[in-house]
């Protein structure tokens, strides 16, 4: 089996060095992007021209589109690319760590927070999270405190998407244009990041600019169906390439089939080192706090508000865990299979990208595993193109909502806040929002090019999620505790921000980090998010108990 893989990989790698690689996968991706743009621009024709339609689609999205847009937004590049890479790195525990817990906790957030937020926002006309908190806690300044925190937490999340597209399309297009884009190393002849970013950001910008929230919902529905289908397709074609489901798992590294923490020795050209495999129990337990992040994602908040009715949430609440399963189980299995394909003691036999993955730092190249497996194990360029389009769909279905949401909060919480009603016409408001969306897209594009070589970009996602998850105590108390006060809200936000920043610094500004871990293994402690969450909750409760309660009018407004 091992020899068989070596031959396949050697054959697959050969054309890249001798002649230009076939461009069929790229043609499929361009066709996909064209189709997406066409569909989204068509949906833009349904745009009613009002700011309410631009921001929250006039509360008109039904159950199926709500499920698809919420699920597509929640599942980032990490769902396909990161899950495969993490399973390749840590093993079978990846699914329990990140997916099954999300099935339970995400649905809880949609049920407990989403529906109530939708009802309150619809009744009182809110279109952003900050408007909700300002009114609930009777404090304009709370918005100014929350605004930079939310924006700073969304930006790394945005960058993950764009940089993720570089890491997928770079290896996939390597060898396609050797004379046009010559480069040294494995990415010789590949489409450069500045073009990839320009196209991806350009396509998303085009439909968000045209149709706002409604276009995002249509595009997300299409993208979610595509990436779910392509994940399953990748699973089938890769398992066939490995000789079937049974044969594929039989050749996997045994240490990756259990959650027991172990060390795996790697013999790299740069020297021998050890890779941590398995999931320590304390990390597994406290990782359950990460999915709480959906309770505070501003872009998800905006998607909730697009719902036609509370009943629209039913399908999302019930089917979300199943959708996660459909996407994650195949990807985790592919990651496990890859541990048998790319064995740690034979790096000389593998094509350059695989050597980069296996011999790099702990997390280097983890995001490239799926694309490398597909490119070097599946010889069919059409399938390579289809699966890569699926990965891009997962990336872009989050990007659009995040771009739109930042444009929305800049417009409503900064420009329009404190302005007399009627100062701006509805058309002017839409124009301002579009201007901010363009600015956010440009900023993201430039930042992604500057930071594209940061190794642990996927770990930044966990820090972003951790910040949002810890802040969920704020929205939970705002919705379910009449006694939650303005001072309590400030205390909660400050406690979360300070503790998060402390742990972020301790982690070396973005690396994997757990609290109370041993010197031998960095991931066997408590996830910082659990501590930040409880500090925020305790601060909210203690301070609220001793400070001025909200007015009766506010209580009536928020507690029907």
């Amino acid at each position: 089996m091992y020899l068989h893989h070596s031959v396949i990989l050697a054959q697959a790698a050969e054309p890249a060095t001798k002649a230009a690689a076939p461009v069929t996968p790229l043609i499929i991706i361009v066709a996909y992007l064209g189709l997406l743009l066409g569909l989204a621009l068509f949906s833009g024709r349904l745009f009613r021209g009002t700011s309410k339609d631009y921001f929250v689609a006039s509360h008109s999205i039904g159950p199926f589109m709500l499920l698809m847009s919420v699920f597509g937004t929640t599942m980032t590049a990490f769902a396909l690319v990161g899950s495969t890479g993490k399973a390749f790195q840590k093993g079978v525990g990846t699914y329990g760590l990140m997916a099954s817990s999300s099935g339970l906790v995400h649905a809880a957030c949609f049920f407990l927070i989403g529906i109530k937020v939708w009802a309150i926002a619809k009744r009182h006309g809110y279109v952003t999270q900050i408007q909700f908190f300002r009114n609930r806690f009777e404090s304009s300044n709370l918005g100014y405190l929350l605004f930079p925190i939310l924006v700073l937490l969304v930006i790394p999340y945005l960058l993950i998407g764009v940089i993720g597209s570089y890491r997928v399309l770079g290896p996939m297009t390597s060898g396609m244009f050797p004379s046009l884009f010559p480069a040294t190393g494995p990415l010789d002849g590949s489409v450069p990041p500045w073009i990839i970013g320009l196209v991806i950001c350009g396509v998303v910008l085009a439909y968000i600019f045209a149709g706002g929230s409604r276009a995002a919902a249509w595009a997300n529905t299409f993208q979610t169906l595509v990436f779910m289908a392509m994940g399953v397709l990748a699973f089938i074609i890769i398992s066939n390439a490995l000789g079937g489901l049974g044969a594929a798992i039989e050749q996997a590294n045994p240490a990756h089939l259990v959650r027991t923490p172990t060390e795996m020795g790697i013999q790299a050209p740069s020297g021998a080192f050890e890779r941590e495999v398995g999931i320590p129990p304390l990390q597994f337990l406290t990782y359950m706090f990460i999915p709480l992040s959906v309770g505070m994602f501003p872009h998800l908040f905006q998607h909730w508000l697009t719902a036609k009715s509370a009943k629209s949430f039913k399908l999302t609440v019930i089917a979300h865990p199943l959708c996660i399963m459909v996407v994650w189980v195949p990807c985790v299995l592919i990651g496990l299979w890859a541990t048998g394909v790319f064995t740690p003691n034979a790096l000389d036999n593998w094509p350059p990208p695989v050597v980069t993955i296996m011999s790099g730092a702990e997390d280097a190249g983890v995001g490239k595993v799926l694309s490398v497996v597909i490119k070097f194990l599946v010889a069919n360029p059409i399938l390579v193109g289809l699966v890569t389009a699926g990965i891009l769909a997962a990336i872009m279905s989050s990007l659009d909502s995040q771009f739109l949401c930042l444009g929305t909060i800049f417009t409503n919480d900064v420009v329009l806040h404190n302005q007399p009603e009627g100062k701006f016409s509805d058309k002017q408001i839409v124009l301002i929002a579009r201007g901010f969306v363009v600015a956010v897209v440009l900023l993201t594009y430039v930042l992604s090019l500057v930071l594209k070589d940061v190794q642990n970009v996927f770990d930044l996602a966990i820090w972003s999620f951790s910040g949002f998850a810890a802040l969920t105590s704020l929205v939970f108390c705002a919705l379910f505790w009449k006694g939650a006060t303005k001072a309590g809200a400030y205390a909660c936000v400050i406690a979360v921000a300070v503790s998060w920043f402390y742990f972020f610094a301790k982690a070396g500004w973005g690396g994997e980090y757990t609290v109370f871990s041993s010197a031998e293994r960095s991931d066997e402690g408590v996830m910082p998010v659990a501590i930040c969450f409880f500090l925020g909750l305790i601060a909210m409760i203690v301070v609220s108990l001793f400070t001025k309660k909200p007015s009766q009018e506010t209580i009536r407004k928020f507690f029907p």
């Binding site: 699914y95 809880a108 489901l245 129990p281 509370a310 009943k311 865990p321």
Partner: protein
């Protein structure tokens, strides 16, 4: 006085004093906590057996867990749906 009688009486008293909504919320909360505990499946930590010949036990268990979570939320949606909230959101009074 037998201990079972005391427990039964106190349960009866508590169920009488709780409203139907509170009872529902209590049952859902308990079920949620049970599911959260079941998520830890410490008994599978070292198990490398394969289910259906190709899915490691650690993955098969959590895939089944995802299905159980969906069933749980289907029950919650059926029996504890906040229907009054929708009427209130549309501008009709809930009471």
């Amino acid at each position: 006085m037998p201990i079972t009688w005391v427990v039964t009486q106190s349960l009866q008293r508590s169920s009488e004093s709780l409203s139907e909504t509170e009872m529902k919320f209590g049952i859902i909360a308990v079920a949620f906590v049970v599911l959260a505990i079941l998520h830890q499946d410490v008994w599978n930590w070292d198990n490398a057996n394969l289910v259906f010949g190709f899915v490691p036990v650690g993955l098969a268990y959590h895939a089944a867990y995802s299905i159980a979570a969906a069933i749980f939320w289907a029950f919650v949606s059926k029996f504890a749906w906040p229907s009054k909230l929708e009427a209130w959101a549309d501008g009709e009074e809930a009471n």
